[in-house]
């Protein structure tokens, strides 16, 4: 093999390690008996996992996260898909609406957090899961809209014309023909929405109280107060889950 290829392989390996090492580092930490995160003792223990699954705070946070993320996924997918459908005709108002809807991708999360905090208290939703769902939906809509839009742009307009010529009124043209053809984009958008909500921390910190805090918020609080390896145990669990989800998606894609 030429030297050039060896060098390229080496650099790629180093970059890959650099990217993945911090993630993998938490796995051995989570099985270490030391009670302070980041100061390993070298002794094996599953104590932190036991703590994770017995302490009520974690269970509550996990349940909160799951509820918020699920509802956000449903809402953001529906609204983001509707937005993408509405924006296909590039009207002047549409371009403006598009700008506003995509703004959460660019506006710093801190600013959204402060704004949401004030507004949700005003609406009497401060500290509630519903408040979190609303905020996360705002953050997730642009991701859904972008994913669905790119999928819709692949759908030949002739399919709608064909459906129309066959007697389908406009809403049936959309539900029977356009949406099924844009399904991959909608699924991707839903996944983005779920992930956006699942690991959102900045805005959530402003909105959650002790009863409504989500996993990322609780993790952040724990790091601030008691730096136990329970965090590493949780991180390892989440890593395993994401890996499984990713593998499942790849499998689905291959079967298609």
């Amino acid at each position: 093999m030429p030297l050039r290829h060896v060098a390229l392989g080496f650099v790629s390996a180093v970059v890959g390690l650099f990217l993945i090492l911090p993630t993998l580092y938490i796995v051995p930490l989570s099985f270490d008996a030391s009670s302070t995160l980041g100061v390993p003792s070298g002794q094996w223990s599953t104590r932190w996992y036991a703590e994770l699954f017995t302490e009520r705070d974690w269970a509550l946070a996990a349940s909160n996260s799951l509820q918020v993320a699920s509802l956000t996924t449903v809402l953001a997918t529906a609204l983001g898909t509707a937005l993408a459908l509405g924006l296909r005709a590039k009207t002047r108002i549409g371009v403006m609406v598009n700008g506003f809807a995509l703004a959460p991708m660019i506006v710093p999360a801190v600013i959204i957090g402060v704004g949401m905090y004030g507004m949700l208290i005003w609406w009497g939703l401060g500290g509630t899961l519903l408040g979190l769902v609303i905020a996360h939906t705002v953050l997730a809509i642009p991701f859904v809209a972008v994913a669905v839009s790119s999928s819709l742009s692949q759908v030949d307009p002739d399919y709608e014309k064909a459906a129309a010529s066959l007697g389908a009124p406009p809403w049936k043209q959309v539900t029977k023909v356009v949406l099924p053809l844009a399904a991959p984009g909608i699924a991707a958008g839903a996944l983005f929405a779920f992930v956006t909500s699942w690991d959102e921390v900045v805005v959530s910190i402003f909105l959650a109280n002790t009863h409504s805090r989500t996993l990322p918020v609780l993790m952040w609080t724990q790091v601030r107060t008691e730096v136990t390896p329970t965090l590493a145990a949780l991180g390892t669990c989440l890593l395993a889950l994401s890996t499984l989800a990713l593998a499942a998606m790849q499998l689905l894609k291959r079967n298609k």
Binding site: A164, A168, P169, L181
Partner: protein, 360 residues
């Protein structure tokens, strides 16, 4: 047979001064058409001449800026496409990729509230008509181009529209398949008894299939008539050129005499006078060796190409006064000339097409 097999009543279609502009450009300019029920009309013309726009206006995918469209006496100009009940075959077929062939065909029936079971049966019958009943379960991508075309046809007529529109229906097929499908579409047209409007840029397809042909040019109809009208009696140079090959000579007509550069010939008394183009189709041209007794008339020249084409021979003659002339003669009964022979090209006066010269 059941009630589902009753034929559609063919529709009468009328377009009155229909116009449509895109960004200030007239795509369709003052088109008027009148189709009798059961007629097969082909709109023929180069791309961008407005024929597909006309089709989209009839289907309702576009609405005209001016003029009106009536179907069976009813004004449909502003009716939404899904309420028009017009069958459409798309250029790329536009079969729904997520539905099987049978589901594609049954779609229009389900939209009309036909019970699922009946819809499936009628769709099956429609697929039988195009000889594809055995492939109903396949997805479009599992079908060949010709099979997709048949499914698209079945889908467009299963709900018994009185009018069927076809946009370059055979454009994506190879030549052999295209010829088969031309005959198939004509058979279906007769069996279904619907009025058909087809768009093509293939003049042979238009000649084979149509009762009448509308030749499009720059958003207008350059001429409307039977294939014979257009070929034998074109009303302008564009139509004459578009419908097959023609040799073209310029000159003047006074009375029944055409005068070219240093020669003249007789033309029918119906010919226009003044500055004209005189056109002669290659198959109406005969070529004789110079020096034979019948060589007193016609234009003299020299054979520069002699091509044997099976049933016919094609000669290209360079005329003495400049210009070239093509002739097609029977391979058996025509003369056997070779390159370099001095010849005269001749035609019967009634075969000359005389058109007034146009500023182009």
């Amino acid at each position: 047979m059941t009630g589902s097999s009753t034929l559609a009543a063919p529709s009468a279609l009328t377009l009155t001064s229909v116009g449509k502009s895109f960004h200030g450009e007239r795509a369709v300019d003052d088109i008027s058409l009148d189709l009798t029920p059961g007629e097969f009309l082909t709109m023929l013309g180069p791309s961008g001449s407005g024929k597909t726009t006309t089709l989209n206006l009839i289907a309702g995918f576009l609405s005209p800026d001016t003029g009106s469209i009536t179907l069976d006496g009813k004004d449909i100009t502003t009716i939404a496409p899904h309420r028009r009940g017009i069958g459409v075959v798309f250029q790329n077929y536009a079969l729904f990729p997520h539905m099987s062939a049978l589901q594609n065909v049954a779609f229009s029936l389900e939209m009309r509230g036909v019970r699922r079971k009946d819809a499936q049966r009628q769709a099956h019958e429609a697929l039988e008509l195009v000889q594809l009943a055995h492939l109903g379960k396949r997805l479009p991508k599992q079908l060949s181009g010709g099979q997709q075309q048949r499914v698209a046809l079945a889908r467009s007529f299963v709900f018994k529209p009185g009018l069927l529109l076809m946009d370059e229906p055979l454009g994506a097929l190879d030549k052999r398949l295209r010829e088969d499908m031309q005959l198939e579409i004509m058979r279906l047209g007769r069996e279904l008894g619907c009025t058909i409007v087809s768009v093509t840029h293939d003049q042979e397809e238009a000649l084979v299939m149509s009762d009448r042909i509308a030749i499009y040019r720059g958003g207008r109809i350059a001429q409307l008539g039977t294939a014979e009208d257009l070929y034998e009696r074109p009303s302008n140079l564009f139509v004459a050129d578009f419908m097959g090959e023609a040799n073209r000579l310029e000159g003047r007509v006074d009375g029944t005499t055409f005068t070219g550069e240093g020669w003249s010939c007789r033309v029918p008394s119906s010919a226009p006078t003044g500055a004209v183009h005189l056109l002669v189709r290659p198959e109406n041209t005969s070529v004789v060796s110079d020096g034979t007794s019948s060589a007193a008339t016609g234009l003299s020249g020299q054979v520069i190409e002699a091509i044997y084409l099976g049933g016919t021979r094609k000669y290209v003659v360079r005329l003495s006064h400049g210009g070239r002339f093509e002739a097609r003669t029977s391979a058996r009964s025509g003369p056997d000339l070779t390159v370099g022979d001095a010849v005269r090209v001749q035609w019967k006066p009634e075969h000359a097409i005389v058109l007034p010269a146009e500023a182009s």
